[in-house]
Subunit: 112 residues, 2 copies
Amino acid sequence: MLTENGCPKTALSIRDALEALEGRWKLLILFALSSGPRRFRQLSVEVAGITDKVLSKELKAMEMNQLIRRQVFDTFPPTVEYSITEHGASLDKVLEELHYWGLAHRVKIIGK
Amino acid sequence: MLTENGCPKTALSIRDALEALEGRWKLLILFALSSGPRRFRQLSVEVAGITDKVLSKELKAMEMNQLIRRQVFDTFPPTVEYSITEHGASLDKVLEELHYWGLAHRVKIIGK
């Protein structure tokens, strides 16, 4: 397996990834956006438990890291929509592996 | 791809995983332990940037989630060693995908 020798180069890339994805929310926001663009209010409902303040902060950080795109539409009043970028969508394998591991973890620790 | 429909059951398993792995340190600690058991002092050097207080807190949380094992050896003075469990080692695919994504992210955002 990849992690057998624990070389610093690999640790660096994992560290880069963890920094870009820090916290418990970013991957859940990406997961919500993976099924299509959302408005702020939709995200705040779909990502259960997140506050507006934190959601707003996370969206800004994710935009900076080019994981998501923020688009303003010239309607009245203006509407704002968030969508996943190609770079953000490239996290699908990470999400998939986390999903499988989360299932196994629930059986093992949470016990149902 | 798995994340296309965004069903709540998948969000739940990802949430479980993210809760168990929360923060920037746990996966880096697991990565260090994936190449063999370590003593506290070794970990604090290898996981660059972590403070002793945080390392101690993270190790306790990871032990509770059965990701790592803490063993006390009857030497004089007693020695304590941390090693990865089978459950912790089952995160190797997550680490692998994070590694690949981190490499791509560095090229794209950090630019080298």
